[in-house]
Symmetry: C2
Subunit: 103 residues, 2 copies
Amino acid sequence: MENKYLLHGKLTAKPGQQKELADILIQASQLVSTAKGCTLYAVSHDQEDENAVYVTEIWDSKDDHDNSLKVEGVRELIMKAMPILDGAPTKGQELEILGGVGI
Amino acid sequence: MENKYLLHGKLTAKPGQQKELADILIQASQLVSTAKGCTLYAVSHDQEDENAVYVTEIWDSKDDHDNSLKVEGVRELIMKAMPILDGAPTKGQELEILGGVGI
């Protein structure tokens, strides 16, 4: 079996729009929650950075992740998030899970 | 309710010892899997970095994480990992979960 895929990325909101960005990402998590291969989609923040929002996803495969971007409504949420981002999103860390628990 | 705690950290093994380090961390995940508040303990690697091992943990609280270090056998595993690390471990990212799925 293919190892699971972990994506850990940071998005930076324009000043004052962190909560709005986090809310959009939480809506996205709900849309993809029933997509094939979705194990985790966590939206978090760093208490020492008032503009950053982190997304940590675990999928059965990278393909499952990529397909989730086509789930109905996800594209609309991405379009809604783009104008409140402070610059282009940086590429997330793409990792391959070797083992552990709760996966 | 307190928001959950996410810890994402990178450990670097001495050359050739990545698999051994990952195996030790997977053993640690098994020891803490039944500890209070453990939601996720994923051990992963970056296909482009042959020495790094990543640990991504989700706990009900930071206290639950801190207490997991006292689980029987964990200290022994940490002692076993220390000599194969390439330098001191860097501090992981400590994040607070705002929402999402699979948590």
